[in-house]
């Protein structure tokens, strides 16, 4: 089966989705999303069960979309031909980060680098760099089973970063981190986002405010809002619930979106 010739990769967007739909049986988890992501740090915000994790899984090529079109790094996501090449340029931290407890931190990161088909000669150096980047240099030789939850989460970030990905997908990366580590991770994300498309899914609004250049709010599988963090902060008013401008903006935008949806029915 020969594939139709693809147009030249659209360099403007790392990820572009149109009418993206994911169904699980009769339940629609992602409902006709139109979204594009370029370089920078993008926040994906929404209540629990909004479809964030489903969307992240599809973007990470962990599960297929059931409708619409999705292009990752200029290639259609259903294209098995280019899947392997695309995956070499992806970094992914799933919501439930699984690991081999008997491996040391370095071994696990090197193993993931090998799975991402990095050249063997580059692997030790790259692993060392990302381990230091997540401040685990002194733990590199420790078994994963001996790490605390926050350290494991940082290994998760390190393995996602090890291949210098062009698209970095982090699902709830700040879970289990103490405040200091969280601040460090946000700085790291801003740094990586200078050249890379970073998508951070979270339900913690303050993460978005501190680390992201722009935000997408997802609710019931649809985009409720897309814009900059400033726009998000400006959307709220005194009457909206929340402890910060960004939180008030979030609740206001979510309420407006739900009103529109009800009206449309």
């Amino acid at each position: 089966m020969s594939l139709p010739e693809q147009p030249a990769p659209d360099q403007a967007w790392h990820i572009s989705a149109s009418s993206l739909t994911v169904r699980y049986g009769r339940r629609i988890a992602v409902d006709g999303l139109d979204l594009t992501f370029g370089a920078g740090v993008h926040g994906l915000l929404g209540p629990n069960g909004a479809g964030k994790t489903t969307l992240m899984r599809v973007l990470a090529t962990a599960s297929p979309a059931t409708g619409g079109s999705l292009r990752i790094l200029g290639r259609p996501s259903g294209d098995r031909h280019h899947l392997r090449a695309v995956r070499r340029r992806l970094g992914y931290l799933p919501q439930r980060f699984g690991y081999y407890a008997r491996f040391t931190v370095r071994e696990f990161v090197e193993y993931v680098a090998w799975l991402k088909e990095m050249p063997a000669a580059d692997i030790p150096g790259a692993a060392q760099r990302v381990i230091e980047r997540v401040q685990l240099g002194d733990r590199a030789g420790h078994r994963m089973r001996t790490l605390s939850g926050g350290m494991v989460q940082r290994v998760g970030v390190a393995q996602a970063l090890v291949n210098d990905p062009e698209v970095l997908l982090l699902d709830e990366p700040t879970v289990g981190l103490d405040p200091e580590q969280r601040v460090h991770l946000r700085a790291l994300l801003r740094d990586v986002g200078a050249q890379t498309c970073v998508i951070v899914s979270t339900h913690l609004v303050e993460d978005i405010a501190a680390a992201c250049s722009d935000v997408a709010i997802i609710d019931e599988g649809r985009v409720a809002f897309r814009g900059s963090v400033d726009q998000l902060a400006a959307a709220g008013s005194r009457e909206d619930s929340g402890d910060s401008a960004v939180e008030r903006g979030y609740t206001a935008l979510l309420r407006q979106h739900r009103t529109r949806v009800v009206a449309a029915r």
């Binding site: 962990a62 392997r84 995956r87 439930r96 699984g98 690991y99 193993y111 993931v112 799975l115 991402k116």
Partner: protein, 429 residues
């Protein structure tokens, strides 16, 4: 290489190697008296170890196969570039390396026991061990495939117990598909065709298991099943009906210098120095009997194909159960003399129509005549019968005594007549 290096240290390969060495070494030690000083004995013991080592390899493989599910890495590793089969290859190779190194270590440990005493290095024993090693690799990989398919903590013990029971209860003696290979005699060697058939089967099984471990598609699984079935079919078809044949090298008689001739199979040549003098003395003791034996042959009477022709010319010494761990006679020279002169240098008849008891009584009488000692413990009816027969015999004129003993010896060799009657009445007229 990165992944192989890591898996070698962090997968269950080390666990498998450790378990194999511990269980195997303890078994080698516990069964030490069953593989006296012969390379082939060690080789078949290495195969007997598979009773325990194959279940261990299956269980360790199953534990390894369940790792991804236990660790919850399926989602993350489902998004990486490297295809699944490539990901599984390093860990499969690490498991194979672990079990092979452990098996080789056991062989090396056993060699330390054999090397100083073995008189005969020939034979195909390395191939016998090599086929066993392939069977172990196949078991480890098959376990991985099952563990991947059913990634439960209950899978390893279930596999272990059922594979062990299956082997123990299997009534296919030396079946071509079974890992364990038991030799019927020191003088037997496994038929090369049989060994080749086993190689095909276990090689095919290992290949199929590896395919199954690394399979990502239904087609790969179907191919694996086809390979396993084809290997089983081919090896069953080409395997000869009898696994063991007489070892032409090992069973060849080698004789001590000088006359009369005292010979032993080459594989047991180590018995000759101790045997020769007592054997010649026994021949001299028996010489007055008209049909006295003129030479001595040591052999294994436990296996029909190598049993020597029954003739009065040859005094046969059965080696079964009489050798120690260095391949020498366990008995002191005086004990050897008793062994040699038992029944005036004859062997028992298989399944005598007149009953073993009359055989025993006649033997006791004849032995007593030759050795000049009492016929034996007169504690039972036949012991007393033997004692009575001996005293009656001794009361006869000496030529008649010798004629009676000759008749007895003939009866024992032909097994067509009650030897006690021969001793009490002489040759049939």
């Amino acid at each position: 290489m990165t992944a192989f290096r890591i898996e070698l240290r962090r997968s269950s390969a080390l666990l498998l190697a450790a378990a194999t060495v511990v269980v195997g070494a303890l078994l080698l030690w516990l069964l030490a008296d069953e593989w006296t000083a012969r390379w082939s004995g060690l080789a078949y013991l290495m195969r007997a170890l598979l009773f325990a080592l194959v279940p261990v390899a299956l269980a360790a493989g199953a534990w390894q196969g369940g790792r991804d599910r236990r660790a919850g890495v399926t989602e993350l590793f489902g998004t990486v570039a490297r295809p699944y089969p490539q990901r599984l290859l390093p860990v499969a190779l690490a498991m194979a390396a672990g079990v092979l190194v452990a098996y080789a270590a056991l062989l090396a440990g056993g060699s330390v026991q054999v090397a100083p005493y073995a008189s005969y290095a020939g034979g195909q024993w390395p191939v016998v061990v090599a086929v066993g090693a392939v069977a172990l690799v196949a078991a480890a990989w098959l376990g991985m495939a099952v563990g991947r398919w059913v990634p439960s903590v209950l899978t390893p013990p279930t596999l272990l117990v059922f594979s062990f029971l299956g082997q123990m209860l299997s009534r296919l003696d030396n079946g071509v598909l079974l890992p364990v290979l038991a030799t019927p005699s020191d003088l037997a060697t496994v038929a090369p065709e049989f060994l080749a058939a086993q190689g095909v089967w276990f090689g095919g099984l290992a290949a199929a298991a590896l395919l199954l471990v690394a399979s990502a598609t239904v087609w790969a699984r179907a191919l694996a099943a086809a390979v396993a079935l084809a290997a089983a079919g081919v090896s069953s078809a080409v395997a000869p009906a009898t696994a063991f044949v007489v070892s032409t090298d090992g069973a060849t008689l080698v004789c001590a210098d000088g006359e009369p001739r005292v010979c032993a199979p080459r594989i047991h040549a180590a018995v000759l120095p101790a045997l020769t003098e007592p054997a010649r003395e026994a021949l001299r003791t028996l010489a007055p009997i008209p049909n006295a034996p003129t030479r001595v042959v040591a052999t294994d009477l436990g296996w029909a194909p190598v049993a020597p022709q029954r003739t009065t010319d040859v005094l046969v010494v059965d080696l079964r159960f009489r050798l120690n761990a260095t391949g020498r006679f366990e008995a002191a020279p005086a004990g050897l003399r008793t062994i040699l002169l038992k029944g005036a240098g004859t062997q028992s008849c298989p399944d005598p129509a007149w009953g073993f008891e009359r055989d025993v009584a006649a033997d006791q009488a004849a032995t007593g005549w030759v050795t000049g000692r009492p016929a034996g413990p007169a504690t039972d009816e036949y012991g007393r019968l033997g004692e009575r027969t001996l005293s009656e015999l001794k009361a006869l004129p000496r030529p008649e005594q010798l004629a009676r003993l000759a008749a007895y010896r003939t009866a024992k060799v032909r097994c067509d007549r009650d030897p006690l009657t021969a001793l009490t009445t002489g040759a049939p007229r």
